[in-house]
Symmetry: C2
Subunit: 258 residues, 2 copies
Amino acid sequence: MPGRLEIVALPGLPQVGAGDDLAGMLLEALERAGLQLIAGDVLVLAQKIVSKAEGRLVRLADVTPTPEAEQLAADTAKDPRLVQLILDESAAVVRLRKGNPGVIVVEHRLGWIHANAGIDQSNVSEGDPGDWALLLPRDPNASAARLRAEIHERTGVLAGILINDSFGRAWRVGTCGTAIGSAGITVVEDLRGQPDMFGRTLEVTVVGRGDEIAAAASLVMGQAGEGTPAVLLRGLAAEDSPATAADLIRPRQEDLFR
Amino acid sequence: MPGRLEIVALPGLPQVGAGDDLAGMLLEALERAGLQLIAGDVLVLAQKIVSKAEGRLVRLADVTPTPEAEQLAADTAKDPRLVQLILDESAAVVRLRKGNPGVIVVEHRLGWIHANAGIDQSNVSEGDPGDWALLLPRDPNASAARLRAEIHERTGVLAGILINDSFGRAWRVGTCGTAIGSAGITVVEDLRGQPDMFGRTLEVTVVGRGDEIAAAASLVMGQAGEGTPAVLLRGLAAEDSPATAADLIRPRQEDLFR
């Protein structure tokens, strides 16, 4: 357990476009900040820049909504083409609140329970942003693993990589940074069986450490205009785990709230 | 939005008992760590030390379970006296999973939806820990405000105070540090109406910043034996808000999952 943690937003990252060399951009941003990557460091990236680099921008004009999407869109005062993308990205609609604006909570095809399948329309284009939508990365754990390998190849350093997104919560106000992809990081810390301070065995303490890392990074990521979508965390216990952020998804059979 | 955040666990905090001067203990721990409190700093305290200082330890031998508690306890393989305390602290049972161990998810009398009304049996006593249970503080926002005032009086510095606890999540594995009390901190950041990078107005971005702070602090708090239940966060934007952690509780009429 570390006693001191530094969280640094990397300044001056340029706008990211499809096909960009994200690993190279991150290393340049680190250099500009006067930071040299060391083993145990964790780089947290906002979903948005990973998605953009992977070409996940979709032009709404290219989407033809089904009647199901049209109906859902009417119920929730959303663009039917956006709703079609939400359905395409989802395994199931979990909750619907009709209204203006309504809410569509889905199970994403990758297992997350969240609003709108994580599809974003802010900060996605220099044209009319209403014309575009940004989907989540196709496989964020694979994206994280690839970045980890590329950074390792160029620097010799095995850093942890985590991709976060802002998730709403069932019973809390506001979003919280949440891990949707990771490589090299112990995202679930299982303290069961360890003794507490008085020698009593802990029974139920499993910590969603990956989400705590995602939330901590979110504190220094700008949400609006002056975004800094890449953050360095230094001081976490050494990171070299085979776990991925998929381990943070509660299995359906343990879900009491679906 | 700050670009750099430091998170430091305060070492050497002694065991806390009922009636202890928590503000004094925190200031001594800061001094030992060579840290001088400055305006804008946030101190995060684990629920456990606040509860202990406020005398919220209950001896199970003093609890007489009702038939309702006996039945719930049989269903979930828990101590009936512990279940009685859970019911006493709760407004309603929200979900029940029978089994061994079972799960009792409640709405706490203060509005949180969580397991076991936040009642803890680890790290609570040097005797047989099975004999004791630790309830959450009676009014954690009031506890935070009191600590803020006491620290202000002794140092002249208005620090933010946040009390965190480990909450499970409906669809995620593992607990995450969550804000149950605060004073002086902007716990909900409302970015709606602000322009994004391309001038588009953000529509739905409300950030649960208090919970992100709670999660970040949890990363450096020991969970098991070597606990460091007090943490300093330095580098957040200046904190001087009238908000409290109650603002992070989703109103019942907006709850889609109860």
